[in-house]
Symmetry: D3
Subunit: 223 residues, 6 copies
């Protein structure tokens, strides 16, 4: 039952970079409001923004053995994503694992559990989005799997899917939809630029989006 | 049932400014320890401190239509305050709405739900106190109301009441009590200044507040 | 039932300083993965790191009277640690108490409840690890105890035990084990330095820790 | 600041009884989907269903003194409703207070905090809707108020407002709207009876409510 | 984006019945400890136990329109399973919808949100496993989808997968694995019967499972 | 570090039985309002009420091996009490372990984690107070300890301390204080009987406890 899938497909790096440029909120809207991880997944420091291919990990509660296995599977530009098999907030990951992952070109970690050594990780500029910051140690006794589909913080993630993460949280984009989503996201960014200028000039959304008629029709009363 | 109240009364700007200067903890104490919003309402960035008149919004879960309606009702110096009609952490508000609100002189947002684009909002210095940071999009399908009384994060807020907010959280002051509260709060600030000096010099609260007798009477034993 | 224990034993300052240098995660591992406070105890600002002897407080919900009593018991280099007798997130502690504590040489506060005036505390560089930031005021009506054993955020703490705290959270070390734990923690730090260099050079934990055989034995399959 | 309001207005008993017969979900719908207390307020035993006039209590955390004061204000058919001034789950109420309240004709208790002696209360058939079951004792040291408006579990409640409670939770109806709401609620009950029969016979809501056209218009695709 | 998939495959009824007989804990173990929904999904009354094919619903927060659409897709013996697109505890489902679903042969509901009219549902013996009991009403304004894969309370569920539910919670079995899992689960039940007798007779698990040697090897000390 | 302490002292059975007769709320009051476990520890079925000597277990998250070890240490009349070393809600315990424990005379289980097979446990009348009901399986890979002091749901418990549990929750009594506490608890029960009669007859607590003077003194106003 415990497997390591060694060859996974990834989206094109250029597409991944375009998704990073658009950010989580826009990408999430562009793909039909799906793929968000739960809001309890928060960055350990502000300002990080990235997109990367997921190397996924399914791990038992309180056991970080599979992280060592997963690091060998990383290609430069990947991100680690760990989902425990039952709810856990232990500190699976700290500065030593981050050093190892960073040496392999890993761009960060998404973990539906805890992380520790956050002062060091901040200094290393190794971004982590986690459920908790917790120093609680883990063991290396029970197997899990690497590069299998997982549910992480409420989102279904397959190995090689694109993870977009910034201060707003984390979103997953299906690898095969990445290019279409990037295009739609960029279109949203462009459209928003025009609206932003009009709004900044004091025009109202009520007028820009022509909402007054529909509001009246639904029965809104001004008193 | 869905209404927009267009003319609301506000407290004097000078009184609002005096409340801002005193801060949340002091204002809360000065008005008899009432009016605090729940502690889960947190600022999206540290250091903001303000007081403003509330333009209130009652909105359905996952529907941010009324924010567009509310922005038209803003006067310079107001703050938006949104309470969903059932618990929700969707991202009702982002950088476009903030641009629009800021253009109308809005000083910030209090929301018992989620907010997104927080990196942009931080850069814009548009302060938000929210329940969650969550990129989850919303729709514009169902009406709510603007400038009606709401319960927001456990506090009863009427349109035009004064909102005081800083790193400690958010407090609401009844519009008609604002002046009295400001006076009491300023008195507390003045009194605290004297005590701070004595405490900094090493005097004990036990002595400054003359507590030893009452502690002994209640039965405290030193061993 | 309400007592203040005036003379408590403390660990050697030099040992305390060595524990501070090692940090929470390492100290926790070195003492057999015990002593961590729950992960909901978080610092009010990042970057603080310290170790200190605990002056413990057992206080009723919403009543901060015993903090005044406890401050008199502080020796320079101590830390206050407050556990409410039932769950509470009221703001027991603010800038006046911090001024008083700091004047007595207190290094910080651990509190399984709320704190307020956090902007001031941050400016004063007075570190607090708390369950909540909440301006809610407290009263001074009911006694508690000072320097008695308490359970604080899930950890059993006796007066004089050593508290280690940093961005990862808070850990307690038994006073009588402090020296042994410091030695073990320093050994871990030394050992980690070597591993960090090898990992940074691209060596894998799988090889450094010789895990491949045991993984195969447990049944891990590469596909 | 601490007051006991002795004479409060109540709705007509016949109206109150009609609301009880309709139940929480129907009453809530009938008054425009407002007035619900948060879902964490749960009955201590299943099967109770009632409506009653609220005698409200604002009490400090961990202090149940005001319950004794409030019991004197009860008229037969009233219900006690307690909101703590900051979040608390202590056991404010047990079998002795229930005996006293029941002797005065009190029909139950709504409490945004804890309750204890639940085996006894169940045997006494004294219904309680609470946030927690917790044996934690309280003190009698600090005043609160009786028969003042409070926010209880997210709902604004004034003394004399009608409380409707059953296995679905708790809803508050403004005293002055009670009759109109009862009428609307009864109309809903009548209308639902007809629909229930058609649905039980296998007719679809899609047809009874004529939804197919609007679904198609919005873009629903059957595949 | 909003679709209703009309023809879904289901597992054999006989296999579904065998899974029901084994129960959640055993089925979950038999399939390698996967497929459990989060523990916050609880039955509204004790004693129900079933297995059924899932008709899945992805619905917006606070909008139960798709339930009406889904009921038309039910075959006798199916179960409804609803996942909101963002966290919500509104009461999507009550006695009228239950009457309609039951008339179509529906065996129950799994919902990662709220339910209401629970006294009626209990009387109707219509079992529901939900996140909350909450009377909060919903609207019918925004589309979702029926019979698409969803993540429900942390588990990935596809239409036609087998849902097993009892007092322990809810587990999903992949349709194509249902037969193999049923066989393994039945083997576990048989094996457990033998062990149960030996344990009831006072034999120890330490001996039945031959654990003493391995415990000693790992270093367990009896003192 | 992993030990099994084989000989522990227990309180007299007659004292334990007297504590059971008094119940959790009374015992907790009698010993000065200490020793309660957190309110999230709830019985899996209503109506159980017992007192017993604790056989304590410190176990890793998701690993129930030590339960097998602990069962051998049980004497008739004991209760198992398990605290995980980090927060966990996995189902450590089900009907097989209950059969084994019951065969050794065990009276129940207190667990700051999850339990499963609750329908069976209910039928067996084996009472459990737990944090969660969750079918999630556990492994047997990592050692813990038996009969060492633990912190369980916020309470410090030593092996042989007396556990009192009923529908109100769970309370621990120090073994060496058990007799004194039993005496005080019985005195409370006796005193309450008299008060219950007076309250049932309509006398007010305000008069029975002579509160009116002190309320007036503190400033309570009747209006």
């Amino acid at each position: 039952m415990s497997v390591v899938v060694q060859n996974i497909e990834r989206a094109d790096q250029s597409v991944i970079d375009r998704l990073a440029a658009c950010g989580v909120a826009t990408v999430h809207e562009a793909q039909g409001r799906k793929g968000l991880l739960a809001s309890y997944i928060r960055p350990i420091f502000p300002g990080a923004r990235l997109a990367a291919s997921a190397v996924t990990i399914s791990a038992p509660p309180g056991d970080n053995w599979m992280l060592h296995v997963a690091i060998e599977q990383l290609k430069a530009g990947d991100i680690l994503l760990l989902a425990p098999t039952s709810p856990c907030e232990d500190g699976y990951f700290g500065d030593l694992l981050a050093t190892s992952a960073q040496a392999r070109g890993c761009k960060g970690l998404i973990i539906d559990a805890g992380v520790r050594d956050v002062a060091d990780l901040t200094e290393m500029k190794f971004p982590v989005w986690s459920k908790a910051i917790f120093a609680q140690g883990t063991v290396k006794e029970t197997l899990g799997s690497v590069n299998v589909p997982v549910v992480c913080a409420g989102a279904y993630v397959r190995p090689g899917d694109v993870i977009v993460a910034d201060d707003d949280g984390v979103c997953v984009v299906l690898r095969e939809e990445a290019e279409v989503v990037a295009k739609k996201a960029e279109a949203r960014v462009a459209a928003e630029d025009g609206k932003r200028k009009r709004l900044a000039a004091g025009e109202l959304g009520l007028d820009i989006y022509d909402m007054r008629g529909r509001l009246a029709e639904k029965g809104l009363k001004y008193i």
